[in-house]
Symmetry: C2
Subunit: 341 residues, 2 copies
């Protein structure tokens, strides 16, 4: 039983393939009578159009390409959920590709998207990957929206989280709570988000506590590095009165180090993170953090892309930042109200 094609339907309905095509695509220049016949024959034959053939002649795939550095973890899960939400609303498929931090592979993935998708959503947080991205973009000839990436040049919209503003706001909050010796656990050096958060910490410190030395510890966004940083701080001759980690996982690692050492959080040292992962609300004490609405990031980016595809214009949207939200829990001191950055 071979696959049934549009020809089979045409033959069975005694019309041309052009007519079948028109009916199936909902064109209105078809007689009611003929339309019904075609539709019922198509159903009877269990006909399903062949997407590749359709794409080839219509030059539309009804799909979006999503190229991410990784798929593991809640961040990507949320991002994909946001993307999926608007994609399905527009009846667009999602072609997913993760390049696992390999810049070469990112280029390959982008190229392989030609003829498969109508536009590209690309996240490239590695500061080094921007060139490859630029190449690939010109290669693919497709509308592109960049997510949380260093602007790779002129073309394409870039959408990201306001990491800089969020980090600044967190430092402001800690300072307003009376903290003065605020240590920062940084993220990976080649990561754009990490970079921006560090910059926010520095700028806020310079502005609010001029003359105070920066206090920066290395980290790489995972819990273990936060734990290490915490132990370093415990061993330091002078301890900070607050620790701000560039993300929640490191903040939690640091928190566990403190708790193991019998240090009271927030009594002796206040603690804050960034992201607001679910765990942040479950641990004890609850972790204060800057909430990033990842799903919204994904859905916004997708909206922009869909618009770009529809307009057929090269995307010239300005860079846009999504606000973060301060979430105050016990780890940073006495409870206060939420505010927005």
């Amino acid at each position: 039983m071979a696959n049934v094609t549009i020809k089979d339907v045409a033959r069975a309905a005694s019309v041309s393939v052009a007519t079948v095509s028109r009916v199936l695509n909902g064109h209105d220049n078809v007689t009611e009578h003929v339309r019904d016949r075609v539709l019922s024959v198509a159903r009877e034959l269990r006909y399903t159009p062949h997407a590749a053939a359709r794409s080839l002649s219509s030059r539309r795939t009804q799909a979006l390409g999503v190229v991410l550095p990784d798929l593991h973890g809640e961040f990507f899960s949320e991002l994909i959920r946001g993307i999926d939400q608007v994609a399905r609303r527009h009846r667009l498929h999602l072609l997913l590709s993760s390049y696992h931090g390999d810049v070469e592979e990112q280029g390959t993935a982008l190229q392989a998207m030609r003829g498969r998708v109508d536009g590209l959503l690309v996240m490239s947080p590695y500061t080094a990957a921007s060139q490859s991205l630029e190449d690939a973009r010109s290669l693919s000839q497709l509308p592109v929206v960049l997510i949380n990436s260093q602007s790779g040049g002129a073309a394409g919209t870039v959408l990201g989280v306001d990491n800089h503003g969020g980090a600044r706001a967190m430092v402001e909050y800690l300072v307003s709570g009376g903290h003065r010796r605020i240590a920062f656990i940084a993220g990976p050096e080649d990561n754009f988000d990490a970079h921006e958060r560090l910059r926010g910490y520095r700028d806020a410190l310079a502005e609010l506590l001029p003359g105070t030395a920066e206090w920066i510890l290395r980290g790489d966004f995972d819990e273990a590095s936060g734990h290490r940083a915490g132990r370093e701080l415990i061993a330091a001759s002078e301890r900070p009165d607050a620790v701000f980690a560039a993300n929640d996982m490191m903040a939690l690692g640091c928190m566990f180090a403190f708790l193991q050492a019998g240090i009271d959080v927030p009594g002796e040292i206040a603690l804050a993170g960034f992201d607001d992962i679910p765990l942040a609300g479950y641990v004890h004490p609850g972790l204060s953090t800057m909430r990033v609405n990842i799903a919204e990031l994904g859905s916004h980016a997708t909206e922009l892309l869909v618009a770009a595809i529809a307009s057929k214009e090269p995307v010239t949207e300005p860079r846009r930042w999504l606000a973060t939200e301060l979430i105050v829990r016990e780890s940073s001191g006495p409870p206060e109200r939420r505010t927005s950055s």
Copy 2:
């Protein structure tokens, strides 16, 4: 600047399109000299093959369709990660589609896959969806591997977690710990996993504690329903000495209800879940549970599918179950060793 096609490359390299095609597909019946010229011209022109055209004539898409009920949460994140892992090893793309619990949409999604993918990975935990699945499968004419689904008939491989065996093993473990009044918080009624876990609880109870009445509370897999069940149990005239929830989220909800009521876990009531989500290890007391290796489920399913596509035979693999693993933490009583189900 229009997109460059294989014709442009052929012209620029002074060869036929057939030869360009051969070079690009790595066929060996091409002179070294010609090969090099074509390759360098292709690179120079930044040529990228058009996937739809290639798919149409080669009848291969190099892509796998993944149809899931939802994308939200860690389960799907892990599943996709496992799938992606083997897909990338075989250089296969992933077309993702979630039908959000809508059986109609599931059918539509499956149909839309024709001409886009070489095979289908489908998860359909809704017991009612099996008919639609069967329809769609015959429609799509593609190799299918079902994940955690009720066997929809003869065709297609079914791969799933051994929910029944895992639940049995958990009850056995609780009984061996001296517990006799074991309440069970069930999952959604139309969910296949939930169904199997409940069956495991029942079978184990009937076997190990004959004559003991089943003690089943309703739940729907989320934390709130676990919390509700916990409050019900607190209010009961007689309390259980152990509670086994059909998943971790409900177990955690139940745990919070107990802790709020000042009930000692596991002192007064032991508690166990199913899944081993990361939270299970972070809460205090740590939650005993049955670990399900979701990523492995995804990668196994994908291996089977890839094999099915390669063999071109209708898949007739028997139903397969992935073992679960008992993880003992504080919530179930004194620490013991891990064992496998």
